[in-house]
Amino acid sequence: MGELNNFLSWLKVDVITEEILIFILFVPIIATLVNVSRYIIGFRTFGIYAPMILSFSYIFTGIRYGLLVTVAVIVSTLLSHTLLKNIRMHYMSRITINYTITVFMVLIILALNEISPWSITTEQHTISAIPPLGIILIITLSDFFIKQYIKKDLLTTIRSLVETVIIACIGWLLLTINELQNFLINNIWILIPLLILNFLIGQYKSLSIKELFRFKKDLSDNGENE
């Protein structure tokens, strides 16, 4: 144990900063969260990357402001998609134009937020304290959203979005708990039980919670007896 601690202190001091170490350790934690939500709860998030990135972004932007940017991105994406729907062009061009319009719209929405009396502010000290990457990462959500929206209907896509944001919020919440952060950097062995947990989820075969609700009618009405 002593050697592991020495190794950790060396990591924190000479290799990376403590902040980076915390963030890196949270990557498998949030991934596990997505894993549990997919197979045990039955959530269909936009993959594993989107909820993870959103969790970290919300740390940079503050949760309220982060959610505002998220809503702004989705509304803008929907608008730009509707505008572009019937215009003939290459796929990548469409996505690029979509990004351009989205960015423009997000700026407008954020400006409107600033001047409105119900303005949502960031928990960070000032807007200038938000690293640009925080907002850029949320904007990339547009891509995940549009890719699914083209294939599936709006409600299914919004459902995935809501589930992604829920997981991101839980991830953000975990990230903000100082005790958890301290525990993690001092107990890096926690990754091993995490590994086992994920392995067990990998073997899970029963119904997910959402499926239980989906088939509830059948279960209560009439299951077939042999």
Binding site: M89, Y91, I150, K152, E211, L219, E224
Partner: protein, 482 residues
């Protein structure tokens, strides 16, 4: 096998993937299900019919040189490697003299708009992975007359799940107004369970409410938004045995161990395989109100030697016990060939008796029911019958068209408050009045149209015609009443 806990009977996505898809659907088999063109080729070799391909567009250059004017009035567009019905558009007609086609919701798409859709398909927007795709243009299937009455615009399809060569569950999916001609459950189509033993439909479900959390579904008994809504229970799926055989054959050829297959029935060509699916959805359990697991477990270690045996197993293992449960399965009441019925008097006050119990013959050989003139008189239709006699319509006609002409004349000129009908009686063509008669049959009261007949040799005073018998099964072995 030990009795399974009710909720354990349901096959969920987790178990489907781990126990059925991964071990039984090898990547080579998935390749076939994920590529419509390849799949069609393979099925054709085995003489399994699929919708005819009209055109394949592989790249943008081919799209630019596409001869739009050569496209038929109706056709279907599909992405070759599309999933879950994404990117599929059915065109039902063409705007006269224009290069514009009409979708099921009556929306018109111009050549340019369809072109944009084709480009999206070519860019791989609707397909698995991020690489490009190919546009497949197919003939549109003509709805089979039996199923036409149950669907709103689109074509219904039959989904079967096949495991270890044996069909284990089936459902029919009917397009509705809500689903805009699509047959998918989540789009609002009606999904109806099918009894594997006989191809009769059982319970039906439809989307109740879309919700952010999870869609909810409700049981439905009738079609909706059609001119005449019909009961969904007891529809006999045409070509049922052939459909089962096709499904079994498809599995043999594609080697997809846990297979979902979609079949549509074309009015001219019969059952056509629309798609084979190596990741079939599990909503079929809701339509059948029963879980897949016990059925799949039963088959796991079985060695099924022939297709014939597989089909027999499907019917006996997973079909309902038709003799015992025909009533509940088909939703039809069983009635006798000669049934005791109650006939009610037209005007209650004047009548000596308000109703009368008589024996009626259920005659599937005639369309509209018949009533003996004497009985009709007693039941309060004397005025109508006398009025008809005073019209002076000839006793018999040389042809049906002549008789129809007379009916038209009287209906247009006179102020008849009853309908006239042409019937053939003792090999003579006659015109007779039609009266409404209130009856009670098998415990249910209804008002039926009856043609007044003066035929001397009518043994039974009432013959119930085909029009009224759609919801009954006639047991010809019994002539005694219940």
């Amino acid at each position: 096998m030990a009795k399974m806990n009710k909720y354990k009977q349901i096959l969920g996505i987790n178990r489907r993937n781990q126990e059925y898809i991964r071990p039984h659907n090898p990547p080579s088999a998935k390749k076939i299900s994920d590529n419509k063109i390849l799949c069609k080729k393979i099925l054709h070799k085995a003489d399994i019919k699929t919708p005819k391909t009209i055109k394949i567009i592989r790249n943008k250059r081919q799209l630019e040189t596409l001869a739009w004017q050569d496209l038929p009035k109706s056709f279907v567009v599909k992405p070759n490697r599309g999933t879950g019905g994404n990117g599929i558009i059915v065109f039902y007609g063409q705007k006269k003299g224009k290069l514009s086609w009409i979708k099921s919701n009556h929306q018109v798409m111009t050549k340019e708009q369809i072109g944009i859709h084709f480009e999206k398909i070519l860019d791989g927007v609707f397909s698995m992975g991020d690489t490009g795709d190919v546009v497949v243009i197919e003939e549109r299937i003509l709805n089979h007359p039996t199923l036409r009455d149950y669907s709103f615009r689109g074509v219904p399809d039959i989904r079967l799940i096949i495991f270890n060569r044996v069909p284990v569950m089936a459902m029919a999916r009917f397009p509705t107004k809500m689903s805009e001609g699509k047959a998918n459950l989540h789009a609002g189509g009606i999904c109806t369970g099918i009894d594997l033993a006989n191809g009769l439909t059982t319970e039906s479900i439809q989307l109740k409410k879309r919700s952010i959390l999870e869609n909810t579904y409700k049981n439905v008994e009738f079609t909706s938004d059609l001119k005449e809504n019909k009961p969904l229970k007891g529809i006999k799926i045409p070509y049922w045995d052939e459909i089962l055989n096709i499904a079994i054959k498809c599995q043999d050829i594609t080697n997809i161990g846990f297979l979902g297959i979609d079949i549509a029935i074309d009015a001219d060509r019969g059952p056509l395989v629309l798609e084979v699916n190596s990741r079939p959805g599990l909503g079929i359990q809701m339509a059948n109100n029963s879980g897949l697991r016990p059925k799949l477990e039963k088959l796991k270690d079985m060695n099924i030697s022939s297709r014939k045996r597989a089909s027999r197993l499907a019917k006996t293992l997973f079909g309902g016990e038709i003799e015992d449960e025909i009533e509940s399965l088909s939703g039809k009441e069983i009635v006798n060939l000669v049934e005791k019925i109650t006939v009610y008097h037209k005007i209650d006050k004047k009548a000596k008796k308000e109703y009368q119990t008589i024996r009626a013959l259920l005659d599937t050989g005639i369309t509209t029911s018949r009533i003996d003139e004497g009985l009709a008189n007693r039941m309060g239709h004397k005025e109508t019958i006398e009025n008809f006699k005073n019209l002076g319509i000839p006793e018999e006609f040389k042809s049906v068209s002549e008789a129809k002409k007379i009916i038209k004349e009287y209906t247009e000129n006179g102020d008849l408050n009853y309908r006239l009908a042409v019937i053939t009686e003792s090999a003579k063509i006659k015109v007779k009045p039609v009266v409404k008669t209130k009856i009670k049959i098998a415990g249910k009261q209804k008002e039926i149209e009856t043609i007044v007949s003066s035929q001397k040799e009518m043994i039974y005073p009432i013959l119930i015609g085909n029009k009224e018998l759609k919801n009954y099964l006639i047991d010809a072995s019994k002539t005694f009443t219940r």
